[in-house]
Amino acid sequence: MKINALIVDDNQIDRHILKRWLKKCSFETNVVEVSDGQFALDYFEENKGMQADGYPPSIIFLDINMPRVDGFGFLEAFSKIRDRDQLGSTVVVMFTSSPHQNDRENAFKWDFVTNYIVKGEFETQQIEEIVTGYSAKQSA
């Protein structure tokens, strides 16, 4: 089974780090990366209705502090896209350097946000668990 992941982060090196951890997972992953919330929304518009290799993403790794559309702006817009395009199985994992409780609470207001990972503070097996947990849920 192949897992499609979309990484939304303006920091190229953070995307690089996350990609490397995803590569180490026991599941094969198909990674698409964009550099801010606006690009992520554009990506969903461009691929609307497609069922190609790599689309739609199963897990979106989402940064908060980004230019143009930030993480929360994306969540708001994505909740509509998710309903419209019937992307009910797509979940969001926050991947941010913000440890603030406010940000955490704001993110978990959306029921499709399943995890909140703070950059530099996560254990490497956490990524594996998230991906494994996701695929287990899908096959159940």
Binding site: H16, P67, S97
Partner: protein, 531 residues
């Protein structure tokens, strides 16, 4: 020899006046005036009025009837003679103009005592000034007049006394006057807004600052506070509470000045007392705290800004550290796997990230020390400064292939050098960073020109990517990043704005046909107009 009015005499007087009152008071004309009687249309009622009137006017003692606000309603002939007034003259006044105001104050206080206690008050000695200005001493008994079980008026009977050694009252009248005089004097010359009232909240005196803030009492100095100052209902309420509860009231009140500006006062209303502890009235001391009030609002705003700043700053500092931590883990893994090339790549990445962190720290420092840059203004050669900044940005300018143009009608300015440098540095760097690669000729143009003797204009214009109109109002906010190419801290324009404002100028952003224009208007010193 002591002369006193014996009790039975007083009681009978009281009975007479009370009686007159009950039956005939409404028929004022028949009692106080004589027109009807002189015309010879005497009714039974008139006969009775005339009967009591003539009886009262025959008494050598002064007889006077007063209403609930201590206003004179009627007095007998002896009183009118002593005061040199007619019945009409004294209608509805508190006291004659020639009276000592401090005496009047005491009379009013005594009236109130009778009203409140419902009992007669025996005043063994009080001074009363006659029409000629002579002061004599009287023994007065003030008694309540009841209607339906309620005190509605007072009637006083005063007998002239010769011997002045009667001091059986708790406070001698003169003592009371002497006691009140300094309070009154203080109210009149207090260096803050201050006002003094009697027990009926009648204005007795106020300080010059009070008058300049709230206006002087018009005409009648005996006006009740709420009538004199109808635009100060809060203070009228304070006075009422203060006099009723005999305790001080302190609160903040707002007042709209004549020019429409809102003023805020901290007002303390306290009762003042006679020597015997009885309340004589109240004073209001108001302190103008408008500026404090504004400062406190400003402080709250700055605090909130600071909180936001700390939140975002911690985020921007933590981000690169987290990244570096992740990369360090990779290096350890790479070394363990024998992948030295991979380790080198990751080490370089750490170097990049640390470079960015360094930039962030420098920006924070620039912002934090913007205030500390209050150095002496020096004459700055604008062209030279721009050339120097461009040398620092040379790498980016070359990479983006941007032409830097200048149009300097004004070649030098007297300004704090560091501030102007940071303003131009940030605006030029932005212009270069957000140049539009799709345009054939890319430029950033700096203009400096005089507006008038007091101001000059500095503009930085580019034909770059532009700023979306939806976010233009947020462009100077801390940590605002609106561009996909933005890799900055989002502090640059916030620093620019801070410097411009600290210099006493203003800055705005405009979208032009081809790009963006920042326009700063700064104060100029006329004496250094172009060399």
């Amino acid at each position: 020899m002591r002369t006193t009015i014996n009790q039975s005499e007083t009681s009978s007087l009281q009975a007479i006046t009370g009686h007159v009152h009950l039956r005939d008071w409404q028929d004022d004309v028949s009692f106080s005036g004589c027109q009807e009687q002189t015309k010879g249309h005497k009714t039974l009622k008139d006969d009775r009025s005339e009967f009591y009137r003539s009886a009262l006017n025959s008494i050598h003692d002064l007889v006077l009837v007063k209403g609930p606000n201590a206003e004179l309603l009627w007095a007998n002939q002896a009183f009118l003679d002593y005061y040199g007034m007619t019945q009409e003259d004294l209608s509805q006044i508190i006291d004659a103009k020639h009276s000592d105001p401090d005496d009047t104050l005491q009379y009013v206080k005594d009236d109130l005592t009778v009203f409140q206690s419902g009992k007669s008050l025996n005043i063994l000695q009080e001074s009363v000034t006659n029409a000629a200005g002579d002061i004599r001493y009287f023994h007065t008994i003030k008694s309540p007049v009841f209607e339906n079980g309620k005190v509605v008026r007072t009637v006083g009977v005063s007998r002239l006394i010769e011997d002045a050694d009667i001091t059986t009252r708790a406070i001698g009248h003169e003592d009371a006057k002497q006691h009140v005089a300094p309070i009154k004097a203080m109210a009149g010359s207090f260096p803050n807004p201050m006002l003094m009232v009697d027990v009926h909240a009648r204005v007795l005196n106020s300080s010059p600052l009070w008058k300049s803030y709230f206006g002087a009492p018009m005409g009648n100095a005996e006006g009740v506070f709420c009538d004199v100052y109808p635009d100060l209902p809060d203070l009228a309420d304070h006075l009422e509470r203060c006099l009723k509860l005999q305790s001080s009231v302190e609160d903040t009140v707002t007042h709209v000045a004549k020019d429409g500006t809102q003023q805020v006062f901290s007002a303390r209303t306290c009762p003042w007392h006679y020597q015997d502890g009885s309340v004589g009235g109240a004073t209001i001391i108001a302190t103008d705290i408008t500026i404090l009030h504004e400062k406190s609002a400003e402080l709250s705003r700055v605090n909130e800004e600071l909180k936001q700043f700390a939140y975002r700053a911690s985020h921007d500092l933590k981000g690169p550290l987290s990244t570096a931590k992740g990369l360090a883990k990779f290096i350890a893994m790479d070394v363990a796997d024998g992948d030295l090339d991979g380790a080198i790549v990751n080490a370089r990445l750490i170097e990049d990230v640390m470079g960015k962190l360094e930039k962030s720290v420098m920006s924070f420092l620039a912002l934090a020390t913007a205030d500390a840059n209050n150095t002496e203004a020096t004459v700055v050669d604008v062209q030279g400064l721009i050339a120097d900044i461009c040398r620092g940005l040379a790498h980016d300018i070359d990479a983006a292939n941007v032409i830097i143009e200048t149009d300097l009608e004004r070649k030098s300015v007297l300004i704090q050098h560091v501030r102007l440098r940071q303003i131009l540095e940030n605006l030029l760097a932005n212009g270069v960073k957000y140049s539009d690669p799709d345009k054939e000729r890319r430029f950033v143009k700096v203009c400096c020109r005089n507006i008038d003797d007091e101001r000059f204009e500095l503009t930085v214009e580019d034909n770059g990517c532009g700023i979306p109109s939806a976010v233009k109002h947020k462009i100077f906010d801390l940590f605002s990043r609106f561009h996909e190419k933005s890799q900055g801290t989002g502090l640059g324009l916030a620093i620019v704005k801070k410097h411009v404002e600290d210099l006493g100028g203003e800055i705005a952003v405009e979208s032009t046909k081809t790009g963006t224009l920042f326009r700063a208007i700064l104060p100029a010193s006329p004496e250094e107009l172009d060399s």
